[in-house]
Structures are given as C-alpha cells and as structure tokens.
C-alpha cells in the first residue's frame, strides 16, 4: 500500500513538472510559466496544447524600400515561413509610439500561412513606425518580440550651418553599409558628405558622395558602414526628412572613450536607441567615481551646443536654463571624459506592450 502511494506521488509530481514545460519548434525544452499560457485555452486542454502546438517564431527582417529618389519611407517586412503545417496565419502588429507599444490583442494585418512578406505603403505618412510579426495557429500566436521599423530624422540646411547636421542612427539596419542605408542616385541626391570622428587621432574620416558613380568615396580606406555608438556629421544640400529602417531590439552598446593629450578627452558618440533615456540612467557613475564630466548636444537650428556638466559634489548633472536631461534618439553628442574608459548602455530598453 505504502509502495503504491509512493509511486503515485512520484507520478503526480512528474505530471505536474511535465505540465510546466514546453518544447519549442527546435525541440529545446523551455520552461513556461502557467500564467503566460494562452488564456483562451481551457486549462484541461493545456497539456495537449503544450505538446502539439509549439509556437513558431518567424525570423523577421525589414528595410526601407528603395522607390527611387526621395519618395522614401515605406517599409518592407520579410520573415521565414514555418516548414511545418502548424501555422494558420501571420499577424502583423504596428505602433507609431514606442512608449505605448503594441496592442497584441489587436493585429493590424493578417496574412495567410504562405505569405512571407508585407509592404506597408502608408509608412511614409508617419515619422516612425514599428512592427512585430507573429505566427498564429488554431490555439493562438507566439510571443515574438523582434521589433523592426523605421525612424525619420530631420536634416536642416541653412546658409549658416552649411547643411551640416550631427546625428546618430537609433536603428540597427538590416544591412548597415552606407550604400544600403543612404538610398540616392545621381539624378536625385541630397546627402553629399558623411563625417565620422576619430577621437584617438582627433580627425574626421570623410566619405563624399560621387553622383557620377552613384556611390561613396573609399579612397582613404575609411568607414563603409553605420555602426552603433557613433555620431555622424551629415552634410545635405536641401532640407530633408530621411527615414532609417532596421531593428529596435534590446542590445548593449559599447563605446570606447579616450582622453589623450591631443583630444582633451572629447569624444563624439551616438545614442543608438529609440528610447529617450535620462542621462543619469544611461551613465552610471558617482561623485567619488566618475569620468564623464561634460555632455554636449548639437542644435542644428541655432548652430550651438547645449551643454551639461557633472557635479560630483551632488552626484547629478547641471540643470539650468537651456539644459537637456535625456539622451534622445537621432541626436549626436560630444562627451568629455577624464580618463580612457568604456561606456556601456542598454539600447531600446522598452516593454513594447503585451
């Protein structure tokens, strides 16, 4: 009798453990919190759901469509199809506000199981748009959180600024080569020069657009792609709004800051994130252990920098008239450091809704 009680107890425990695990499409055992199970599936069916309907994660990518010249801004999404027959449709969720995020209870577009791409022809009507693609079967959808989309940056050209704008790109493009990101041609080009600062050598690497070649100079063996953590001076011919497309996934950005006798501790850095973040949250330092003493944000309209200073005595940044308090997407920043250091920040630290 005791033996049978023991065996049935062990079996019961094993059954409970089994209830709390799930296999994903690649056969790896994943723990699933019972709370996150599909709410519309009756609990008595839970076991069968977990076994027969592993969610399929479509491997999504996306980019701005080259429609020729500057009628840019529409977005093309592409994803891998589920090789099994489990998927019934693909649902596309959209939002124009990263703070609000997605409403995953209401999809924007539904596509059949054989569709593996979607073009949003209304994306150019908004300055930013974000997308998530989720696979769905008869029991519900996966919880894919790969966010792709576009973010527009405004460039100002005046007689005084000579068309010079300091920017950073808040997205990680699918292909970050300059030619893929800056889509223009001989008959219709607005961006003429790109500059990337080399803090160690205190000089700029420069790329010029050569209309006749439809490409960028590479003579100096300089940079060929946009990289996270960098700011770029962009010289334009006219006022333009330019869309940058890519993914907005959570990632760490690491930037090496230098202080040499030549550069006086000045480094040009980029805020490669869609999330507007308080300076104090992005730079972790204290009054007794700090390196970054000044941050400068360029204003292309006034041609001046807003400047904030670190006050070690009060472990805070100055907060007077005309000062800024957050790192914001699209802006480029100078940063002054007392010593060589690595600045690490978390990009796109957003919930994106539920």
């Amino acid at each position: 009798m005791k033996k049978s009680i023991l065996i049935s107890s062990i079996l019961a425990v094993l059954f409970i453990i089994l209830l709390n695990f799930n296999f994903n499409h690649s056969g790896v055992l994943n723990y699933v919190s019972p709370k996150s199970m599909y709410p519309f599936v009756p609990q008595y069916l839970t076991t069968s759901v977990l076994i027969i309907a592993p969610p399929y994660f479509p491997n999504t990518t996306g980019k701005i469509i080259d429609e020729g010249g500057y009628t840019l801004g529409n977005f093309w999404l592409n994803w891998s199809l589920d090789p099994s027959d489990n998927i019934t449709s693909y649902k596309i969720y959209m939002t124009d506000n990263e703070e609000v995020g997605f409403n995953f209870s209401n999809f924007n577009v539904s596509l059949p199981r054989y569709a593996n791409n979607y073009t949003d022809i209304t994306a150019n009507q908004t300055s930013k748009r974000f997308y998530v693609v989720r696979a769905e079967n008869e029991y519900g959808s996966d919880n894919n959180t790969a966010v792709w989309g576009k973010y527009d940056i405004n460039f100002i050209n005046t007689e005084e600024n000579k068309g010079m704008n300091l920017i950073s790109i808040p997205v990680q493009p699918l292909n970050s080569s300059i030619k893929e990101v800056i889509i223009q041609n001989e008959s219709n080009y607005k961006i003429s020069t790109l500059y990337r600062y080399n803090s160690l050598e205190r000089k700029y690497d420069v790329l010029f657009y050569i209309p006749s070649l439809g490409g960028w100079t590479t003579a100096n063996g300089q940079f060929v792609s946009f990289e996270p953590g960098y700011s770029y001076w962009v010289k334009i011919k006219d006022n333009i709004t330019y869309p940058f497309g890519g993914d907005f996934c959570l990632r760490n950005v690491s930037i090496q800051l230098y202080n040499t006798s030549d550069n006086e501790g000045m480094n040009l850095v980029g805020w490669s994130s869609i999330k507007r973040t308080p300076i104090k949250e992005a730079i972790i330092q204290s009054g007794t252990n700090y390196n970054i003493t000044e941050i400068y944000r360029y204003n292309a309209s006034s041609l001046t920098y807003d400047i904030i200073h670190y006050i070690p005595e009060e472990d805070r940044w100055t907060n007077a008239s005309g000062k800024f308090t957050h790192f914001e997407p699209g802006y480029g920043y100078w940063m002054k450091t007392r010593e060589n250091m690595t600045w690490l920040y978390l990009a796109n630290n957003l919930t994106w809704g539920s």
Partner: protein, 213 residues
C-alpha cells in the same frame, strides 16, 4: 532717398552679422573675484570678445550667475557662456568683467570642449583694475569706448574640425571655397556701399546746383 538708406542699412547689417562656425563646442566659464578674494555678486557684467579669426570683434554679453549657471553655482562669482557659434577652436578671446568703475581681464584661446568650468580655476578673473574715467561717462557695465589693455594670446589650440576639407577640393563644395565666397561677398558689399555713397554725393551736388540756379 529713404529707400536707398534702407537698402544700405540692410546691406550693412548683413555684412556685420555674417559669422562662421567651426561646428565644435566651445564655451568660457569661470570665476570672478574681488581683489580680496571674495566672489563678486551675481549680475556682475561680463563680456567675451573674439579677438582673432573669422568672427573677430564679435562680443557676447552675459552676467555672473546668469541663466546658464546651475543653482548649485549661484552666488559664487561663477559665470558660464554656453556654446556660441561665433566661438571657434583656435581663435583668441578675452573676457572683460567690468562693473563700471573696476574691471578684470582674462584672455585665452578657444579650446575644443570649452575653457574653464566650476571644477577648475583655469578662468579666474580678479577685479583689480580701476578705470581711468576722467573724460569718460561712467556706465553701469563694461564700456567699449574704454581702452582696455587686453593681452591677445597668439597661441594655437590644435584645430581639427573639417580642416580635412581642404584636402578634398576635387570632390565637393568645401569650406575653403565658402570662406572665399564670403570674403568675395564682403568685398561686393563694400563696393556697393562705396558706389552708393558716391551716388548720394552726386545727388546732393545736383540738388545744390539746381537750388543755386
């Protein structure tokens, strides 16, 4: 005649407000103290004069404890200009702190990232000079009619921004050309000014001769 004067005024204004920025952040910040070492009161007038370079003779006026100064640094004799696009790395500048009867001076070369700050005494102005105002009207602040004896530094803070453009003349419009264009335009304006003055003189002469007839 009125239209002509208006035209001239516009031209002169345009000519005077033309400025060139090097796109680098520059500022001047520091302390102003009385000769006994105590900080001057907030509101003490400050002028920063650009003494060399494209924006020579540009003047920025501010005050000790001005609006760009953090509350933390109020009432400590501290001033801060913030960035100004007339401030270019490598150009000489002077700071005049003048309350109308006494003044102090500082001169330097604009450095990338700024000169001075609240954690350094690099820019320290002592009000230790008395103005000789026998023939001058006393003003509440600094006075550009007054002859300050400013030592102009000729140092050369290393300048990086967009100097490379000079090496790339073959590719695109460059700052060198821009500067040349600017000086050409200046000459153009001066020529128009000269011609206009001659025309005015001729008009006045013609009027006078008509009247005498």
């Amino acid at each position: 005649m009125k239209r002509l004067f208006l035209f001239l005024a516009v031209i002169i204004t345009l000519n005077l407000t033309w400025a060139v920025s090097d796109f680098e952040p520059n500022y001047v910040a520091g302390f102003v103290k009385n000769s006994d070492g105590s900080p001057v009161e907030d509101g003490f007038p400050i002028a920063i004069l650009v003494l060399s370079g494209e924006n020579k003779d540009y003047v920025l006026e501010t005050k000790v404890g001005g609006e760009l100064v953090d509350p933390f640094m109020k009432n400590k004799g501290y001033f801060e200009t913030g960035d100004d696009f007339h401030f270019n790395t490598g150009d000489a500048f002077a700071v005049i702190a003048d309350n109308g009867t006494h003044y102090g001076l500082y001169s330097g070369i604009f450095r990338l990232g700024g000169n001075g700050g609240f954690s350094t005494n690099e820019v320290l102005i002592i009000i230790n000079q008395t103005k000789n105002l026998s023939n001058q009207e006393i003003k509440s602040g600094f006075d550009f009619n007054y002859s300050y004896n400013i030592p102009v530094l000729r140092g050369n803070a290393s300048k990086t921004i967009f100097d490379f453009e000079k090496e790339s003349l073959n590719y695109v419009e460059v700052s060198d050309n821009y500067l040349k264009k600017k000086s050409e335009v200046k000459i153009f304006y001066l020529l128009i000014l000269l011609i206009s003055l001659i025309l005015i003189a001729i008009l006045i002469k013609l009027r006078k001769s008509k009247k005498s007839k």
